[in-house]
């Protein structure tokens, strides 16, 4: 493989993987605290549409990103309220959030353009690539790693921070204990409900941010079905990563890489039908999930937080 091809594939990999990685880390946090949120796809959709609409009307990318964080957080708080306070079925609640978010994003996408028109096809301000001096000139990796947009750079900080917080900080310990054994955590005076609220909402905000990267940097604009199932791939990546932010990087890179290879093959004019190439990420998700699950069963350990998806009711000691 020649060097420029390698660089180009790595560049596309990073760009395609950015939204996935934000959403995956967000979902890791929610699930570590014991809340399964299958609404990632819906939160990404609403994040994408709200970010683009705000960027288009105000011209401010900072406001756009803040709006996406807020929108994802607000949607996630509905899920948190239902699953923490009202102990609803988390699978159904998350699915509803995805349906609702997809519908809401599509509704907004047709109303938030100038004078109540459609957003589809409009060109707004977008996050450009910001090459970092010196570093971006490095051979081989430089142009891929250090000539990206600001949200991709944000991951260079978020990933180690998320890992450190989860494993090395006291609040991170509380988060994990609430997800593994809420009874014990409660007895130790850790507030189970409050922790679950915080990390579910934080997870939603990150999913919204992932959506913002799609509409502000990756596709640069709003289209119906902009996420194309990325929210679901993120849910699968959480399992792939075994609830670890560092391993999530490998997963996101793998899926971003499939996108990149598919993109290059199409650009090279391959005879393989486009539909088959487009199926690759979905087939890969299933294959990877099977391998991971099979491997974990062999190891006799499942990395899932023990209390994942189970509502905590203090008066009913388990």
């Amino acid at each position: 493989m020649n060097l420029s091809l390698f660089t180009s594939i790595l560049t596309i990999t990073l760009r395609a993987g950015t939204s996935l990685l934000y959403a995956t880390i967000g979902e890791i946090y929610a699930e570590r605290s014991g809340i399964l949120n299958l609404g990632v796809e819906g939160m990404m959709m609403v994040g994408a549409v709200s970010a683009f609409a705000v960027a288009y009307h105000t011209g401010s990318l900072v406001l756009a990103i803040l709006t996406a964080l807020l929108a994802g957080g607000v949607l996630a708080s509905v899920h948190a309220f239902l699953s923490v306070s009202l102990r609803a079925n988390q699978v159904v609640s998350g699915l509803t959030l995805t349906l609702f978010g997809t519908g809401l994003a599509s509704f907004l996408g047709q109303r938030l353009g100038p004078g109540g028109s459609r957003l589809v096809g409009l060109v707004g301000p977008s996050l450009g690539r910001v090459p970092i001096p010196v570093l971006s000139e490095l051979p081989l990796l430089g142009p891929s790693l250090f000539d990206q947009d600001l949200l991709t750079y944000g991951l260079y900080l978020l990933v180690p921070a998320a890992w450190w917080f989860l494993y090395k900080s006291r609040p991170g310990l509380y988060m994990r204990s609430v997800g593994e054994n809420p009874q014990t955590a409660d007895a130790m005076g850790i507030r189970v409900g409050a922790n679950r609220y915080v990390y579910t909402i934080l997870g939603g905000a990150l999913a919204g941010l992932g959506g913002a990267h799609l509409s502000l940097a990756y596709t640069k604009g709003w289209t119906e079905n902009i996420t194309g199932g990325r929210g679901w791939i993120a849910v699968a990546l959480v399992i792939f990563a075994m609830w670890d932010p560092l391993r999530a990087v490998i997963g996101a890179a793998l899926f971003g890489g499939i996108n990149a290879v598919q993109f290059r093959m199409q650009a090279a004019g391959t005879t393989i039908p486009a539909a088959l190439l487009n199926m690759l990420p979905y087939i890969a998700t299933i294959v990877v999930l099977v391998i991971i699950t099979w491997w974990e069963t062999l190891q006799k350990r499942i990395g899932a937080p023990a209390a994942l998806g189970i509502p905590y009711a203090r008066e009913e000691k388990g």
Binding site: L38, V78, F81, L82, L86, R87, A88, N89, V91, V92, S93, L95, T96, L97, L99, F100, G101, T102, G103, L104, S106, F107, G109, Q110, R111, G116, G229, W232, V235, A236, I239, P273, A275, L276, N278, M279, Y282, I283, T285, I286, L289, V290, T293, W294, T297, A313, R314, E315, E316
Partner: protein, 370 residues
């Protein structure tokens, strides 16, 4: 002051009825706010929706057209949900059913007598849906692979496959470049009742009756119910859970496949864009709202179909996005989900002073000691 939940002695029937009603009110109010913000009178919009969905025979027929796939996928999804198998792959199973039926309709007339084309399309479509569902079912039953993800990924694969087929190999050579297959021969048409409403409704009613009978009156139905309610107990009494999952998913996928058959043979009479418009996802709401009761599925599917037709109606008449129907469905299901808690629990407010009064002897004893 603290709020605690107290378990009720028995499930409150009043609240069971009240929750769906209040949820509907909530959804309508939420939608009204959204409409007001968009600068449209909610009353006019809702009136247009109701009129468009249930106003006359023609609109009732259109509602039925959308209700049929919702009923069949709703029944399919609910049988899987009973086993706590989260089949969200109804959309893909529907697509594969439609694809198989199209193959029969277009290419089997050389080999089969005319009268057998439609039954063959129905059978093959159901088989295709069942086989598509069998993949995630096998993975879950024997390898414990998370079915939520696999069924969903299978949707994307099926939708891409179907779109590839009518854009490419099966595209109508005389279709002036229009993506879609040729029109089916008349022997492959599902008979119509009124307008576009077709005989698929009878298939849905029969399916509901059979499911209800099987669930209530057969050993298999009993095993299915017990496994969903208490998997541990099911294992103790020797139920083969992997096999049960597999069979339940074959039935589930078969029903979803049948929905696809109905769409291509009853409504579109060819395979083209518009086969997968989200029925498989709305089916999840149908199944949940009907509390997995087959007869309930039929009723709820009809009502939600009304919402969808109403949504299309306000798009055509008032230029509002049809996604309004989807938003209302979500706004309807959220309070229903949350509200179901109150049928089993009641809220009690505990004041700080109140708690001390619970143990009068203890506090008296303490006082006398000091």
């Amino acid at each position: 002051m603290r709020i605690v939940f107290e378990k009720r002695q028995e499930v409150s029937r009043t609240i069971r009825v009240l929750v769906p009603v209040l949820s509907l009110v909530f959804a309508l109010v939420f939608g009204a706010i959204l409409l007001l913000v968009s600068g449209v009178s909610p009353i006019a919009a809702y009136a247009a929706m109701a009129e468009g969905a249930f106003g006359d025979l023609q609109s009732l027929a259109e509602t039925l057209v959308k209700a049929i796939p919702l009923m069949l996928t709703g029944l399919g999804v609910s049988i899987a949900f009973r086993m706590l198998f989260w089949n969200i792959g109804a959309e893909g199973q529907l697509a594969m059913g439609g694809l198989a039926a199209t193959g029969v309709a277009l290419y089997a007339s050389d080999y089969l007598p005319g009268w057998s084309i439609l039954p063959a399309a129905v059978l093959l479509g159901m088989l295709a849906g069942a086989l598509w569902a069998a993949i995630p079912a096998l993975l879950r039953a024997y390898l414990q692979v998370n079915e939520t993800i696999t069924t969903l990924m299978m949707n994307y694969i099926a939708i891409l496959l179907v779109s590839h087929v009518y854009h490419g190999p099966w595209r109508d050579p005389e279709g002036y470049g229009f993506p879609g297959t040729a029109r089916f021969p008349e022997v492959a048409w599902m008979p119509r009742i009124y307008g576009r409403a077709h005989a698929g409704i009878f298939l849905a009613i029969i399916a509901a009756a059979v499911l209800w009978f099987v669930l209530q009156r057969t050993k298999w139905g009993f095993e299915l119910r017990i496994t969903g309610e208490n998997p541990k107990a099911a294992r103790y009494i020797g139920i083969d859970i992997p096999k049960l999952i597999l069979v339940a998913m074959l039935v589930s996928g078969g029903l979803c496949g049948l929905a696809g058959v109905c769409e291509v043979t009853g409504v579109m009479r060819r395979l083209q864009q518009g086969l997968t418009v989200g029925y498989g996802y709305t089916a999840i709401i149908v199944a949940w709202m009907s509390q997995l009761n087959p007869w309930g599925v039929l009723v709820i599917a009809f009502l939600l179909a009304g919402l969808l037709v109403g949504g299309d109606q306000i798009q055509m008449a008032m230029g509002l996005p049809a996604a309004m129907g989807l938003v209302l469905q979500g706004a309807l299901l959220f309070p229903m989900l949350g509200g179901s808690l109150f049928a089993e629990y009641k809220l009690r407010i505990v004041r700080p002073g109140h708690q001390q009064a619970v143990f009068p002897e203890e506090s008296l004893a303490k006082e006398s000691e000091s």
